[in-house]
Every structure is written in C-alpha cells, then in structure tokens.
C-alpha cells in the first residue's frame, strides 16, 4: 500500500473490488457507515465486507437484525440527518420487504419536502441468477427502481466499475442503488488501488462496431461481448455498450451509436415483460426512428419466476448463444 514506486498493475476480483470501494469510502468520509445483515462480523455472506469491521470498528460497520424495513429506514433517517449510510441489502429479491421505505420515503422525501431534505444514502444489493438460488434469490428488479423519480440506479458490470461506482454513489448526495451481480463475484481484472470515480449516468462503449448496437446491463455485458466475438465468425461487427447506469439512463450514447449501426438489441437479465429494455427501446425509436433499419430487439429472461433446476435455469438466463441468435434474427440472417 505504501510502496515508494508505482505498483504493478493489480488484478482484483469483483468481490474484492466491492470491498475496496466500501473501504475507500469509509476511509475518506468520516460520516459514512456500513450497515446490513451479517456485514460486520461475518463480512457479508458474499465476503465483500471482509476486514471492514476490523479496520473501522463497530461504530462504522454494523450488523443489523433481519429487518429490511428497519435497515432501509435507518438509511433514510440517518442520511437525512447528517450521516452518509451505506446500506447493504443482501439479495435484491428482499427489496419487497422494504419497498415502502425505498419507494415512498427514500426516493420521495427530498421532493415532498420541497428540496429541503438531502439523502446521501447508498444501497448495495446483489441481483442476478446463475447459482440455482431459485425464485426468491435470483431476481433482477432494477426496472422497479428506475420507475421511481428520485432514485439513481447503477449496475456495474465489472470489478473496475464496481469499485468506482460505489465511490461515486457514496459521494453523490442522492439515494443510489448499486445493483451488483452474484455470478460476477470471481471475475477479475485490473483495478487501481487509489480512489477513483466512475460517473453515474454515463454509458460506455465496450466494443466498437458497425452492424448493430447491443446495449447490455450488468453481467450481460460480458455475454454480449462473448456474442460479439462469436459474431465475428459470421462476418458481423457489432458494437457493445455497457449501459452502466439505469437511472439516469444515458440515452445520448446509445442513440449516437445506433445512428451509426442502425440496429439495436437490448440485453438484460430481468424478465423481458416490463423490464428496462422496453423503456430503452421506446427512447431509441423516439429519438432515432429514421435511423432504424430493423426493430429494436430484446434478449431477456422469459415469462416465469426463476426456476431452481440447473436444467431450466440455464435456459432461463440470457447468454452469448441467445444473443447471437437474436442478432442473427434482427439482421434476418
């Protein structure tokens, strides 16, 4: 940490990048604390809070009862009164337990109070399927949050963004949900040791291309990049955009790309019907109708709860293969 010469590029898995993001925030901001179920002594069931209790002590790293309404209320009340809470909601599926605190209090308090309350609270939560965790531990519910004026929602797809977006979220004076993905925990990449921000509300082009634009959310970015690789074999050069932020959504970056490629495919892990893909599709055709050579298509989860059996779950989750197939369909290949 305190080496004299510039450290070698350092590779970190997503899980440790999350850890470092929180660690950085707690180091930089005296008013910040972390609270959630099993985040302190156990270091979170995913391990991403490991060592935080030791470093920052029980005043700032707090185990809570299994009381999501209480936990989210803690985030609302503490952030409105001068603290900068980081609230851990273990599984995104549990948001139903505290949706009132999220939707009616956290998201709305500033507006209802005529701008006189400011809630710098960050909620970390884990979405996504992939480990046979079944219907109540696998959901991607970002569309619910994005429908809530007042709330920001981001979905870091990799370790670098996970750290940077946690830092940005915690510096933001608005409530921000950082939706992580449990199937990405072991995914490694270079992550700087120092503190840095990844802006909220900005998409990023992960791969340049000309034939079609894929807009992917969270872990699906990697499936999209895989698909792009495979599509090279059939002579297709697709562009891949990592949406990164769901709310605010960076329509400009997406539209710019589509004006070049004339075709778009939205990919998310959430159920297709009512998922964020519909919103993005609507915005694309509102803003780039004349540029579209094909309908905006979507790859997303089908219309069922997440099944337990690996045999079904593997069919359920969008992947490179289903993306490739849909790209070909869009291009009428």
């Amino acid at each position: 940490m305190s080496e004299a010469k510039k450290p070698e590029p350092r590779v970190l898995p997503y899980v440790l990048a999350i850890n470092e993001g929180i660690r950085t925030v707690l180091s930089e901001q005296d008013d910040a604390f972390l609270a959630g179920e099993d985040v302190a002594e156990a270091g979170s069931v995913y391990g991403y809070c490991g060592g935080l209790l030791d470093q920052f002590g029980p005043r700032r790293v707090i185990d809570t009862p299994i009381s999501e309404k209480g936990i989210m209320g803690l985030g609302v009340g503490a952030s409105a009164t001068g603290c900068r809470p980081i609230i851990d909601l273990m599984f995104m599926d549990f948001i139903g337990e505290c949706m009132d605190e999220v939707a009616n209090q956290m998201a709305k308090m500033r507006y209802m109070f005529g701008g006189k309350a400011t809630l710098p609270v960050t909620v970390l939560t884990m979405g996504g399927a992939g480990g046979s965790m079944a219907a109540q531990h696998s959901q991607s519910l970002e569309a619910w949050l994005a429908h809530l004026p007042g709330m920001k929602v981001v979905m870091p797809s990799d370790a670098y963004d996970a750290k940077g977006m946690i830092i940005s979220a915690c510096r933001d004076d608005n409530p921000v949900f950082v939706v992580l993905n449990k199937s990405s925990l072991a995914m490694s990449m270079e992550v700087p040791e120092e503190s840095y921000e990844v802006p909220l509300g900005e998409a990023i082009v992960r791969k340049q291309g000309t034939d079609l634009t894929i807009v992917a959310f969270g872990r699906m970015v990697h499936e999209a990049l895989d698909a792009a690789e495979q599509l090279k074999d059939v002579g297709l050069n697709v562009e891949v955009i990592d949406a990164r932020s769901v709310q605010p959504f960076d329509t400009a970056t997406v539209v710019t790309s589509i004006k070049k490629t004339h075709r778009a495919l939205i990919v998310h892990e959430a159920v297709k019907f009512g998922g964020i893909g519909g919103e993005i599709t609507a915005q694309i055709q509102e803003q780039a109708f004349d540029y579209l050579d094909a309908p905006v298509m979507r790859v997303a989860a089908p219309f069922s709860p997440v099944p337990f059996s690996p045999a079904l779950e593997s069919l359920y989750i969008p992947n490179a293969a289903s993306i490739v197939a849909k790209v070909k369909e869009t291009l009428e290949l």
Binding site: G77, G82, D100, Q105, R110, Y111, F113, K116, D173
Partner: protein, 381 residues
C-alpha cells in the same frame, strides 16, 4: 387530571439494569426455561416517574405557559384548518389533531430544534409544537410556493428540517424507522440529541414499527416511541385491530420500558416524556410511551364521512377531559395566568392565524418550472 398523574407517579421504581443486556441465549434458555417470566417482569416494569434536577420542583411557570401556548396554537390552527377544508379552500386530505394537543405539547416541551421527530398523517400538531409557524404552514396546506415544502408536500408531508421535524408521513408506520435512523445519527455523532417517533394505535400493527423498535432497543438508541392511542385507526376501534388494550405491553418484547400516561393531561405527558427523553439522552436507550388520548374530529376533516363508528356520548365523555380547558383552569388556580390573560392570548393567536391565512392566500402557486425541481439534489443548484 391530577389524579391520573398521581397514579403514574405511584408506580414502583424498577431496577436500573438495562434491558438490552447481552446474555448468551442458550444459557438462560434450555437450562432454566421458567426464568423467562421473572426476567420479563423486571424488564417490563416502567421506571419511576419521580423527577430529577429541575423537574423535581415541578415545571416552572414559564414551562407551564409554553405548554399551554403550544396546545392553544394547535387547537386554533386545527379548528381553522378544518373550517377552511369544509369551505373547499384546502385541497387533499386533512387529518386534524384536535383533542390530542397535550401529547405533542408535553413531549415537545423537552425538545430543541436539534432533536428530531417524525410525525404521522396527523402532523400539524407535531410541527406546531416543534416551533412551526402559521404562515408557511397555511401556505403549505394551500399548496403555495411559500409553504414549508414549496407546496409540494401538503398536509401529509409537511416538514421542516431546521426545526428538526422529519415530516408528516402519508404512510402509516412510515415514521418510526426514519426516527430510528435519526437516533442512530445522534448516537453516531456522539451528541446528546434524541429522536421521537410519533405513531398511532393503528400504526402499532405495522411491521415497520416492530422493526424500528427492535433495532432501537438493540442499539440502545436515543429514540422515544410515542404511541398516541386515540382508540381508533380510521373508523376501526382498537379492540377491532388488536387483541391488547395497552400498546405499551409491546415494549417488553423489545427489551425497553413501556410507560402509559394520560394523553389528555399535558402534565402527565410532560412528566412521562421527560423521564423517557432524559433516559435516552443519557444513553439509556429507547422507551415506548403510550399516551391515551382521543381525537374530537373525524378521521379526515371535521365531520369526515359521517359514519356511526362511535357515539356522540363517547366524544362528549372525552371532551370532559379536554387538555386545554382543564389546564387553563389549573393555570388560573395556580395563579400562573388569569382568565383575561388567557383570553387575550387566544385572541392574539386567532389574529395571527387570520393574518397567516391571508398571507397564504396571497402567496403564489408554484410555477410550472418548479414541477421537476427537487427530484434530485444537484450541487450548486
């Protein structure tokens, strides 16, 4: 009035041991399963109401006058608001506090603007007692840009952060988790401020209250849970929404003291709240304080839906205990204020109210560009 107070004062002082002690569960569990009852009883007993320090001598005349002023301001504000609603001058729903004035006033007498409170859908009284001013309050009820919330909140979200008032709340049970979070801030910041969550008997059945109470007790937060038991949740009487008579009975299940006071007697509230707040300020953790009270008006507005869910006799019976009438008699008796002084004060309040209504009526509505402001905090904006 004095009678109820004395009864409360007669309660036995309980051991000072804190409720939230962290005994290994298995020990007391399998080894002596019958021990529960004893332990629970000890925890359950309310602490003594005998006063320390200044309050040992009873409140000063200044305090008595302040509490009276709080109550009267609320009463007149609410009466007038109700009329305005009937005249169609206040949009939306208006839940009035008339009858319950002693609760807000007795509790708030112990608080400064550094202390936080969360309120309910019936929030005007709390804000007024916390220092709310007539003008921005009427302006808010009228939906004007000079209102406390620039007209965006209205009656159900009226708030003032500078006064430590974290908002009325349209969600029953919405306040307590937020108050608990504010109390957490106080503890985290190491100050001596407290947080008070007001909620109703009906709200006590919401899961949010349960979770907030458990966490407050666990962390020994400076949080006071004030249940204003007015006997009804909307049109449903208490016996139809819970199988208990005293909401305070739930305190022992969280490991905090449960105290009952006469919510029609501002002195009873003042003393019980003072105890609880002092305990919280000194690190002793939360208290569940139940105030038995009554609302004179209907659930919404004055006459409401005109349902027959309670009898006129019941209302009249409670009005005999009227907090303001009885307290005024006492102030006269004690020589703190004369009838004439009281009448003058009343007249002045009514005058201020009319002036505030005029101010609010003359205030502009928010402009269209304000619609999309204040959704996010924007630096420098």
């Amino acid at each position: 009035m004095a009678q109820a107070k004395k009864k409360a004062a007669a309660k036995k002082p309980a051991a000072k041991k804190t409720a939230a002690k962290k005994a290994a569960p298995k020990k007391s569990a399998a080894k002596k399963p019958a021990a529960k009852k004893v332990a629970a009883k000890t925890r359950k007993a309310p602490r003594t109401v005998a006063k320390k320090g200044a309050s040992n001598q009873g409140p000063s005349n200044k305090t008595l006058k302040e509490m009276h002023l709080k109550m009267l301001r609320i009463r007149r504000f609410e009466e007038r608001s109700g009329k305005l609603m009937e005249d169609g001058k206040v949009p939306g729903a208006l839940h009035l506090y008339v009858g319950q004035e002693a609760v807000a006033s007795g509790v708030m007498q112990h608080l400064t603007s550094e202390d936080w409170i969360t309120s309910t859908h019936r929030g005007h009284g709390h804000l007024l007692a916390k220092g709310g001013e007539f003008k921005p309050m009427f302006a808010e009820l009228f939906g004007r840009s000079t209102g406390y919330c620039k007209g965006k909140g209205g009656s159900m979200h009226i708030s003032n952060m500078d006064l430590g008032m974290l908002g009325a709340n349209g969600i029953v049970g919405g306040g307590p988790p937020i108050a608990m979070g504010a109390a957490f801030s106080n503890q985290f910041q190491g100050n001596k401020n407290v947080s008070v969550a007001f909620f109703g008997d009906g709200a006590s059945n919401e899961g949010s209250v349960h979770e907030a109470a458990n966490m407050a007790a666990l962390y020994k937060l400076p949080c006071i849970f004030v249940c204003e038991n007015n006997g009804y949740g909307e049109y449903t009487r208490q016996s139809k929404h819970q199988a208990i008579v005293d909401v305070a009975d739930r305190a022992s299940g969280y490991g905090m003291p449960g105290v009952i006071c006469d919510g029609m007697d501002v002195m009873s509230v003042y003393e019980a709240a003072g105890e609880a707040i002092e305990l919280a300020r000194s690190g002793g953790g939360p208290t569940l304080l139940e105030c038995k009270t009554y609302r004179y008006y209907d659930h919404v507005g004055i006459r409401g839906m005109g349902l027959n869910y309670r009898t006129d006799e019941e209302v009249e019976e409670w009005k005999k205990k009227d907090a303001i009438n009885n307290f005024e008699k006492r102030l006269i008796q004690l020589g703190v204020m004369s009838r004439k002084q009281l009448d003058a004060l009343d007249a002045k309040i009514c005058e201020d109210i009319e002036e505030a209504i005029q101010y609010a009526s003359d205030s502009p509505f928010p402009t269209p560009d304000q619609l999309l402001e204040d959704v996010y905090y924007v630096k420098g904006a």
